[in-house]
């Protein structure tokens, strides 16, 4: 039992670090970590992110797990993790490419034709094109296969109509992956087809949506007679659900590892040392100490479970549905930590003013951002269903929507 790299892993880590040291600056370890869902993407940030991605691509350090023909280096899963660990130690622009690289790219690799792969993957890798995921609709979130957007064949094109929602990054993206219904008389999962869509295609209207924290990370996207060439279809007509599953599997794998930023137990321990309750450091209060210890134990449990997963990866085993555990446990935990950090501030917990609020009000900001993490990429409840059914093999949910035509499925009262 050990935490050490194998000799090959150590050599790879050294190579990665050497390149990073030559091209970026180390993060200040005392600076607050990057917050989850920090949606402050202005033009300058966008350009900086693209420049950093280009630099990595030119040196062969972008999407290293991808095959060389698209600009990657065919690295192993564990090398991918090692690169991520090393890059995280350096000051870099926010990663606006994660949906493209983590979900769209792998989906195209799995289901695209050689021409499609050549057309999209190299420019996605180099950051020239930014990608988004247009799956959810007002009436289809957890129940994604319930989506309504229509696609009707017209010559060499498909004509799509309908609305997508919660599309992260749509306002600055070039391309998207989209699922639409070509056959409403088929059972719901069978009537779907998967496409790549140009975000600037005529008839597309993108409206940012304001989140509870005032950020605008996601959008609603309206489609009115938008034409998608048939050559942009991924997989066969009617294969949409199978293709979408590839995307979702990759989504859960990438979100699980995403909560390592600020707002963890380390930040809470610092707050509890700095903050005073009735004239003494909060960390000397018995009730506070017991809470902190409980959070610490769970945080370590998450971190160490990650290490067990990495050990399996290092031996060439791929994680299965049990990876849902990480996102389920970690997001709930950081919400409880943020909630408690605000609580121990007493009356100041109700302010967000940077000058007069402990740690410049960052805990309040986090507390407002975190609820989104428990919903995006599979809600807590959906993840528990996955664990219960796919890991523990408990009986599936009773369903009212199987083996009936999509148009016969109950949808609830009309929106008023």
């Amino acid at each position: 039992m050990d935490f050490n790299d194998t000799p090959e892993e150590a050599a790879f880590r050294a190579e990665a670090r050497a390149w990073l040291e030559a091209n970026a600056a180390y993060k200040n370890p005392d600076a607050p970590g990057q917050d989850p869902l920090g949606e402050r993407i202005d033009d300058a940030t966008l350009r900086a992110a693209q420049a950093w991605q280009k630099k990595k691509a030119d040196a062969g350090w972008a999407c290293i797990r991808w095959p060389a023909e698209y600009g990657g280096r065919g690295a192993t899963a564990i090398q991918g993790v090692i690169w991520g660990q090393e890059e995280a130690k350096f000051e870099t622009p926010p990663n606006i490419f994660s949906i493209g690289h983590g979900m769209c790219g792998p989906t195209i690799m799995a289901h695209g034709t050689p021409e499609q792969k050549q057309k999209w993957l190299p420019r996605m890798l180099s950051g020239e094109d930014i990608w988004c995921q247009l799956f959810s609709e007002p009436s289809a979130g957890s129940d994604l296969a319930g989506l309504r957007m229509t696609a009707v064949r017209d010559g060499d094109d498909w004509v799509v109509n309908g609305q997508k929602i919660w599309t992260t990054g749509a306002q600055f993206c070039d391309w998207g992956i989209i699922v639409a219904r070509h056959d409403p008389s088929a059972p719901k999962h069978a009537g779907l087809t998967f496409f790549v869509v140009d975000m600037r295609a005529p008839g597309t209207e993108i409206r940012p949506i304001t989140q509870i924290n005032g950020g605008q990370g996601f959008n609603e996207v309206f489609y009115t007679d938008v034409r998608i060439p048939d050559s942009y279809r991924l997989g066969e007509v009617g294969d949409g659900w199978r293709v979408a599953i590839t995307t979702l599997m990759n989504e859960r794998a990438s979100i699980g590892g995403m909560t390592g930023g600020g707002g963890g137990i380390g930040d809470l321990l610092r707050l509890a040392s700095d903050l005073e309750i009735e004239g003494a450091p909060a960390i000397e209060d018995r009730a506070v100490r017991e809470k902190l210890a409980g959070f610490y134990v769970r945080s370590k449990g998450v971190e160490l479970t990650g290490r067990r997963t990495l050990s399996a990866l290092s031996q060439g085993k791929m994680p299965g549905p049990e990876a849902s555990l990480m996102k389920l446990v970690a997001t709930r935990l950081i919400q409880e930590i943020a909630e408690y950090a605000v609580e121990i501030q007493g009356a100041a917990g109700a302010t967000t003013d940077a000058e007069s609020t402990p740690q410049a009000g960052r805990w309040q900001e986090r507390y407002l951002a975190i609820p989104g993490l428990r919903i995006a990429g599979g809600t807590d409840e959906v993840l528990r269903n996955i664990i219960a059914e796919r890991v523990l093999r408990l009986p599936p949910e009773m369903r009212m929507d199987k083996d009936v035509a999509y148009k016969e499925v109950p949808t609830g009262p009309p929106n008023t």
């Binding site: 040392s273 210890a293 409980g294 610490y296 449990g301 067990r308 528990r384 269903n385 009986p395």
Partner: protein
Amino acid sequence: MNFDFSEDQKLLQKTARDFLEEHSPLSVCRAVLESDQPYARDLWKSAAELGWLGTVIPEEFGGAGFGALELAVIAEEVGRALAPIPFSSSVYMATEALLLAGSPEQKQKHLPRLAAGESIGTFALAEKPGQNAAEAVETRFERGRLSGSKLPVPDGDVADFAVVAARTGKGVSLVLADLGADGVEARALASFDPSRSQARLRFENAPAELLGGEGEGAALAERLLDRAAVLMAFEQLGGAARAFEITKEFTLGRYAFGRPIASFQVLKHRLADLWCDIELTRSNCYYGAWALSNDEDELGSAACIARIAACDTFAAMSEDMIQMHGGVGYTWEYDCHLFYRRAKWLSAVLGNPSSWKHKLIDRLRARPA
């Protein structure tokens, strides 16, 4: 990185599991619980023959000469089986104490007998309810004689000797006391888990000898408790995992409203959450085992983490086990209460989780971040 047990260690674990499945089904635990016998003597004999009692005892003293990782996998299996034997007291406490602080003569005298199961040892620290710290003991050791009383002492009724925390001229020290000697009275106490004993020990000018340096008792006790906490956490982990499996099987077989109760989403979600808890606890236990065999510096916090997670998880699992069984879960006849009792017993004996939480914060503050 290989944050996992080795193939050899897993094989050892499998052998232990197979043996216990055959020789220590839950009926063995129940038999001890329902009778006057304090522990399962045959099973204890087998544990000695299989070399489990001497897992970490060096070969020169009759042991197997393995490390803490091998003992951890066996502890998990002992926990899964709810084995009704004084394993934790004799192996994690008495044996570890001798290995930590024993003189060559003391080791020579006790370790071979411990490995062979001919002698059972225990650790006597607490004296009254609410006390967890060695610093608070009032039992005195002067001029080779021990006086005072210890309550409760796990397995104190069946132990042949005890490692006792006592006050001496230079603070707190550990001493070795033969429980068959004059001036020692051992009385079994009714136990929350009658498959594991509890006792009160009274010493009146009983003969005893120092174990380790005089005045080093508090520090030794702390190290001892840290080491034992990790090993016991594996026992708790094993118990929780077994309770989970039994509960899951039950919910699949029990029908209500025309369907298996395992198809109700509340129960599915609760089982999913319990599974997550057990997985995180497993990771915390592994970390404790790693620290135990590699890194004394990390052991301080790793032991706390393993202990807290294991206590909380086994308690929660055993509570939900009864709940998900419904009425039968509350009967003497079903096995749920065996887990419920063992979870609480194990969580009480090394100091409660709350005391470990304070220890953890103290230790985190004492070291640079």
